[in-house]
């Protein structure tokens, strides 16, 4: 598990809410990536919200890491939405030539949840998984 000071991963129904609380170095980011993917598998989560509001910078590695998480989550059947990208961080990402790719972003946690509800709820019913939060 991660040190609570760096990141937290909370389970809410069939969603996971992962918050990054401080700037992460590469090893910590890789660790976070691994922990999160592990938990998605463990809880059979359908959706993941990653809150990056506390990140000072999203450089090429940070951006790619988020995209990788989303891709891995998708392979495990979970949808990812990134929330809380600060405007200045977003600006620098664009100038750098990076973005979040095809990963969906939302303003904050609330909007992230709304997005997941609209996308995942249908899918869950369709797949008749029989799991409910």
């Amino acid at each position: 598990m991660n040190t609570p000071a760096l990141v937290s991963i909370l389970r809410q129904g069939h969603y996971l809410i992962a918050s990054i609380h401080t700037a992460l170095d590469d090893s910590q980011m890789i660790r976070f990536q691994q922990d999160l993917i592990e938990q998605i598998g463990h809880h059979r989560s359908r959706g993941v919200i990653i809150d990056v509001a506390a990140l000072d910078v999203l450089d090429s590695f940070g951006s790619l890491s988020l995209r990788n998480i989303a891709e891995m989550a998708r392979l495990r059947g979970a949808l990812t939405v990134i929330v809380g990208v600060q405007p200045d961080v977003a600006f620098a990402m664009v100038e750098l030539g990076m973005g979040t790719g095809s990963v969906h972003t939302a303003l904050d946690l609330e909007e992230g949840l709304v997005y997941l509800e609209s996308r995942v709820a249908n899918a869950v019913t369709d797949m008749t998984l029989g799991i409910s939060g």
Binding site: A23, L24, D25, D26, S27, I30, Q33, Q34, I37, E38, G41, D56, V57, L58, D59, S60, F61, L64, R67, N68, E71, M72, L75, R76, Q86, P87, D88, V89, F91, A92, M93, E95, L96, G97, M98, G99, G101
Partner: protein
Amino acid sequence: MGGLDGEHDVAALIPMVRRVVGARVTDPDVADDLVQETLVRVLGATQRVEPGMLEPYAIVTARNVVASMWKAQDRHRRNQHRVVDLRPAAAPDENLLAGEEHVAIAEALGRLSERERRTLLAHEVTGQDTRTLADELGSSAGAVAAQLNRSRARLRVEYLLALEQREPETDRCRPVLLALSSGERRRQQEVDAGRHLLECQLCARLSQPLLQRGHPRDDQVRIPIHSDADIVRARQGARELAARLAFSKTDLTVIATAVSEMARNIVRFAAPGEIVAELLEAPRLGVQVVARDTGPGILDVEQALTDGYSTYHGLGMGLPGARRLMDEFAVASEVGRGTTVTMTKWQPEGRR
């Protein structure tokens, strides 16, 4: 960036990884978990390996993951019966250390000239002021003070060398260490101290105590870059320094992002290195960041500055990305010796 997505097409590796794991593990749930762990590891390494290496790397990783699971199970079985505690290593003997220091000081003093030693001891130990010493030596107080500073700088260098119990390997070492010890910036430039520190392990180590003493310059931060934790330190250091000017929050993030890219390039391809950020007053207010490394150097700088090239060769968005973020960007590279990138962000006109 379409090119990047192609590189990270990990989904395409899944059937192959499943085969490798499936051939070794029969329990489907365990196999699922091992496949997942393998993919996570491969994803973590995609930036460090060439695209063409991804598949062999995934195979090797899958085998490793399976092997380490077996090893862990085995270890667990053996440890169930273990009762002996491993005791922590004994703390170093502090008295012995103090003794070594004493010897080193005596040895360092012995390396000064008779006159230097006498003047220094008269001032530091007996407490004679520079005017009295000047009268005795038939010199001026200013000249004595300057001589004392030089002597102290030499004493610090010789003390550290004596403590290490070794002589420098090159004849550049002493001039560099002396320039650092005395804090004379022009002299440091003349002897190219920054580059020597990257090339010489001894001086790199000794520079730590030499540069940490006294009043550090407050318009400059210097962050040695060895491992990925230094990347965060570098970008935070540069941001804090730049925040003393009237940069907007966006500009500060832009600067921090560029520093992050350059520091990561050093860690990936060219460590050790350093990032030095400095506030500029002329010709305009701004912040200049120098990223210096000891890597293989760049054969074709122009090519390395184009997006496609750097992406394909695993350099990430490093050079072209950082260039877009900053106002000025210059690369000096010597193959086999290293690369120095100097980049500047000017404070927008009219801000105070």
